[in-house]
């Protein structure tokens, strides 16, 4: 049995193109230059496809579009079926956007001895294919399979190409996620068994399982919910299951850190929306306080630890933990406004934090150190880089006029009616965000040129010091390639800050559908915004 709908070839192409790309790049890995060019070409083609898929998508149409499905394991009713809704579509677009930038950013990076650019980029393309699959899968079994498989390329990306403690970080990352995945597997099987008991035949089709499981009694739902939640809370990550992220981010190469924080972690919050709310509406309401507490704790805890970080890459991880707290808050506040805010937050966080990580990577590439204390007054040497760090930073702290402001504002205003106390506490996080972003900027960029990375010891004896500015000569401002990598992100940060409509239009119907599946009603009906269940 196979079914397909209009545009399903697009989705199939989106899934297959990076796989083909990975194979081609591996075959070309003997020559760094051709391998790099091939990888970039494939990632750009994938981006173009994602844009076409976005254009083809009809927000007012069916919930799941561009669908196709094949039988896989008939004995268990497992299908290979993919389709996109608005939420999945924007995430796939973000993947398509970030991967070419990551490849561009890693163009000249030195890799550990014996590793080739081809191998590195092939793994990134493979990871891209798997993450697209995770967002597009509409069979729960298939989703689980891809959820686990996508750990493997990431494991090798961190373990083979990372920093000094990469082995530890890679294993920690893998075990955390694998354990979460296994607990989810128990729930996945549990849902299947429920379907067997109720319908006589089992199925893993998401739409079918939603019907079956959402009518189950509360106690059953709670257990199944907890299984899924464990996996997603580790992935997202919510405090206290977050400890793998700082290690993984700190040890991963910069491009991989972008994918990790920008894409992989979003699978967790995506899972909240796609699986937790529709499948377990009763349990979601029952356990919402738990999630809200974890979310708010994450906002405050992440912000405070980000403020105190001495390592720039770990700083990035804690910033993300704080942001994931906001996303979780918006989802479990149960209003369509906050939920739309959370989905756009997922997009904007990928753009803003992605850019922040890339810029920090450029700082580190120049200074050769990840310690904040090794830098100071860098704006004098690299004014354009400093400006980029400021833009990325301001977006991360949700300054009005940047993309993140729209989503953070929506989350907070939408969450207030249902969860006022949590919202008020989370607002403190905004203040802390200004603190950690501006303080970091001040320490690295402003004041007189100082720090071991820029002058003196780190360069070793005999390092050329430019007498005019008192710093190493090698430190140059952004190259053309680096500007090219950052430019699209700057455009998006400002553009989506003033005109977020394209994203909002696409995600709103999917959010409404999710609200309806979870039998939720908006606490406040405002003007034109009417939640309409079909």
């Amino acid at each position: 049995m196979s079914t397909s709908s209009t545009g399903s070839w697009l989705l199939a192409a989106l899934l297959l193109l990076p796989l083909v790309g990975a194979a081609v790049v591996v075959a070309l890995r003997g020559n760094d230059k051709t391998a790099k060019s091939a990888a970039l070409a494939f990632s750009l083609a994938e981006f173009a496809l994602a844009v076409v898929a976005w254009v083809q998508f009809e927000p007012s149409g069916a919930r799941l579009q561009q669908a196709f499905s094949f039988d896989w394991i008939p004995a268990f009713g497992v299908h290979i079926s993919f389709a996109v809704d608005g939420i999945a579509l924007v995430m796939i677009a973000v993947i398509g956007l970030l991967v070419p930038l990551v490849i561009g950013a890693g163009w000249v990076d030195k890799l550990p001895e014996g590793r080739t650019k081809g191998g590195f980029f092939a793994l990134i393309l493979l990871e891209q294919a798997l993450t697209v699959g995770v967002f597009a899968a509409t069979d729960v079994f298939l989703f689980y399979v891809l959820f686990e498989i996508m750990l493997i390329p990431m494991y090798f990306l961190i373990g083979s190409y990372g920093g000094a403690r990469r082995q530890y970080a890679a294993v920690k990352f893998f075990l955390y996620s694998f354990l979460g995945g296994l607990i989810m597997l128990a729930s996945v099987i549990g849902c299947y068994v429920l379907a067997v008991e109720q319908n006589g035949t089992g199925t893993f089709e998401w739409a079918e399982l939603v019907k079956v499981v959402s009518t189950a009694p509360l106690e059953t739902q709670v257990w199944l919910f907890l299984g899924f939640f464990a996996a997603f809370a580790i992935k997202a990550p919510l405090v206290p299951l977050h400890t793998w992220l700082p290690d993984a981010t700190a040890e991963a190469p910069i491009g991989v850190a972008v994918l990790l924080v920008g894409i992989l972690d979003k699978v967790g919050t995506f899972g909240f929306l796609r699986y937790l709310l529709p499948m377990f509406p009763l349990a979601s309401k029952e356990l919402a306080p738990l999630v809200l507490v974890l979310a708010v704790v994450g906002v405050i805890y992440g912000s405070m630890l980000a403020t105190g970080q001495r390592d720039i890459k770990r700083f990035l991880a804690y910033v993300s933990i704080a942001h994931f707290g906001f996303i979780a808050l918006g989802i479990f506040a149960f209003s369509s406004q906050a939920m739309v805010g959370s989905v756009t937050y997922m997009v904007n966080h990928s753009i803003a934090t992605g850019m922040l990580i890339l810029v920090v990577g450029m700082v580190i590439a120049r200074g050769g150190s990840t310690r904040v204390a090794d830098y100071g007054g860098m704006a004098k040497l690299t004014p354009v880089l400093a400006a980029m760090l400021l833009i990325a930073g301001l977006s991360s702290m949700s300054l009005p006029g940047t993309n993140s402001f729209v989503s953070e504002f929506l989350v907070l205003i939408g969450s207030f009616p249902n969860a006022p106390v949590y919202t008020i506490i989370a607002t403190v996080g905004m203040v802390l965000a200004a603190l950690y972003v501006l303080w970091l900027y001040q320490r690295i960029m402003q004041g007189p040129v100082r720090g071991d990375a820029l002058v003196g010891a780190a360069g070793g004896p005999g390092t050329m010091v430019d007498p005019a500015v008192g710093a190493k000569k090698a430190i140059a401002d952004l190259s053309g390639r680096e500007k090219l990598v950052l430019a699209p992100l700057v455009v998006l940060i400002v553009g989506l800050g003033f005109f977020p409509k394209p994203v909002l239009d696409v995600v709103t119907p999917a959010v409404d559908a999710t609200m309806c599946q979870a039998a939720l009603a908006d606490p406040v009906q405002s003007g034109e915004r009417q939640l309409q269940c079909r």
Binding site: W72, I73, P74, A75, F76, G114, Y144, V145, L146, E148, I149, I152, F156, G159, S160, R166, Q167, A170, V171, F174, L175, F178, L179, L182, I183, L185, A186, I189, G190, Y192, V193, V196, W223
Partner: protein
């Protein structure tokens, strides 16, 4: 004509169980007859062939035997009665599970025999030239360098294989015991035949023999008590007696307990696993592969049959105990596996953990429990054979380099071997798209349907813990710097390459398209008669 048919009808009416009275229908058991017959022929080869012809003769004979038995099995299966039939006066039950297990055993032993027959990895083969030489002597050092080997390993393999096939089809406990001895005695010997590290190998053989003898005694005592209870050793009769009678429960439970202990020992289920690491480490690696894959299949075949046929009606009595055993086995396997520094011992503990997972499937006395356990056995066997095949390739001057530290940085020296081994380890860990995942999935699904949620959660946590030690090897191979005087990776000959390829392809195939094998495994249940 009509007179004859009426006489026949009369005869049938008089005999309540016609299968017992009929002449043995040999078509069903041809595979067993071929294997055991070839084993006898193989002994004659050993006695009569000139020395230089023995190895090629034995290899050809053994491989042909397995293929011929396989062909006979396939031709029989297509026309076999769905409900199964009995053979040899009711002592063997040839039903769908038995046929599936036979097929699995034959396929796995083909892989194992390919490993056993290889002479390129270790010049002259992995087996000692003259087993009687004392370890550490001048003669012993001489035999290490020689290219002769004890070809007795081939008839021993065939006998063990024959025993295993009878074991998982045995319809009464006495047959099962005889089969148990037929499969065990050759294995004890085979463990002591390693060419290198003779002392370790002999220690393994003695340990295995002593503990195995104990287990056999347990088994036999259990059989005696159950006979006392039911007045019969037939599984169906015991089931009937246990279902409704006011006989002494003490006899039943004591007999049941002793019997199951004997079986669990063979299957290396914790806490009856203590022989496993030593024997896996000391035995020649091809024999370890054979033991780990085939013995596990046979033992669980026996466990399934005993639990589902003979003890089905008493399941609420033994279930709680076996829950505990399964948990202990998974925990021991996963936790002690973490502390191992020898790759063969590590895989041994992994097999203890896997035995726990298999036991979960066996405890679920449902059709799903049966089919999922059968499928798991198939997947685990092939992955294990290929794993040991790869382990045998990493060598230094003193033989196999099984210490984990020697595997550091192997990916730089031999990317292909590292990739294959990584794949196999991921399969053992149960990562999707490998057969290991599908096996775990079906077993857990069967267990959850049968209301064993907590056990499944324990199993999942154990899987996550066990994943750590598999990952550790991957970390060593890929992310560590190679040692200066590290081991070399031998380029395998045709036989070992074939065995590893077979294992890897099946592991991948059953991970991606498991539907056909799942259908085979669920094609029927045990025949109770």
């Amino acid at each position: 004509m009509s007179v004859m048919s009426s006489v026949l009808l009369l005869a049938q009416e008089q005999a309540p169980a016609p299968a017992r009275a009929e002449a043995p229908p040999l078509t069903a058991i041809w595979p067993i007859l071929i294997v055991l017959g070839a084993a006898c022929l193989s002994v004659l080869f050993e006695a009569l062939l000139p020395k230089h012809l023995r190895w090629p003769g034995q290899v050809v004979l053994t491989l042909l035997t397995i293929v011929a038995a396989g062909v006979k099995l396939v031709t029989y299966v297509s026309g076999a009665p769905a409900a199964g039939e009995t053979a040899m006066f009711g002592t063997l039950a040839v039903d769908r599970p038995a046929l599936f297990l036979w097929g699995t055993l034959l396929a796995l032993s083909l892989g194992a025999v390919l490993l056993i027959a290889d002479r390129s990895v270790e010049p002259g083969g992995a087996f000692v030239a003259t087993a009687a030489i004392r370890p550490g002597t001048v003669q012993d050092r001489a035999q290490v360098g020689s290219t002769g080997m004890q070809t007795e390993v081939f008839p021993l393999t065939l006998f063990a294989l024959g025993g295993m096939m009878v074991f998982c089809a045995a319809n009464d406990l006495l047959t099962m015991f005889v089969a148990l001895e037929v499969l065990s005695l050759p294995l004890y010997l085979m463990c002591g035949l390693a060419r290198r590290r003779r002392l370790l190998s002999q220690e393994a053989a003695v340990k295995y023999f002593l503990l195995g003898a104990f287990a056999s005694a347990f088994f036999l005592y259990g059989v005696a008590l159950l006979y006392g209870y039911a007045g019969s050793v037939r599984l169906a009769d015991i089931s009937e007696a246990a279902a409704g009678s006011d006989r002494s429960d003490t006899l039943l439970f004591a007999g049941m307990g002793l019997l199951v202990v004997g079986l669990l020992f063979k299957a290396a289920v914790g806490p009856f696993h203590t022989w496993t690491p030593d024997v896996y480490q000391g035995a020649p690696t091809p024999v370890t592969a054979f033991m780990a894959a085939c013995t596990k299949v046979a033992a669980f075949g026996g466990i399934l049959r005993v639990l589902q046929v003979a003890l089905e009606s008493t399941q609420w009595e033994w279930r709680g105990v076996l829950w505990g055993v399964a948990i202990v086995s998974m925990v021991i396997g996963a936790v002690l596996g973490l502390t191992q520094t020898d790759v063969k011992r590590m895989i041994a503990y992994s097999s203890v953990a896997h035995a726990g997972f298999l036991l979960i499937g066996s405890i679920a006395v449902t059709e799903k429990g049966l089919s999922s356990t059968l499928f798991y056995l198939l997947t685990y066997g092939f992955t294990t054979i290929a794993t040991f095949g790869v382990i045998s390739l990493v060598r230094d001057s003193s033989g196999e380099a099984t210490h984990l530290s020697q595997w550091a940085g192997l990916a730089k020296r031999s990317p292909l071997l590292a990739a294959v081994f990584t794949f196999l380890l991921l399969a053992l860990a149960g990562i999707p798209l490998t057969s290991g995942f599908v096996g775990k999935f079906v077993v857990f699904e069967a267990a959850l349907s049968d209301g064993m949620g907590p056990l499944v959660v324990v199993a999942l946590v154990a899987s996550a813990v066990a994943a750590f030690f598999y990952l550790r090897v991957i970390v060593l191979m890929y992310f560590s710097e190679p040692a200066a005087d590290g081991p070399t990776v031998t380029v395998p000959g045709a036989f070992t390459t074939a065995a590893i390829t077979l294992g890897v392809i099946i592991t991948l195939l059953l991970g991606i398209a498991p539907a056909f094998a799942l259908d085979w495994a669920s094609s029927g249940v045990f025949a109770i008669r």
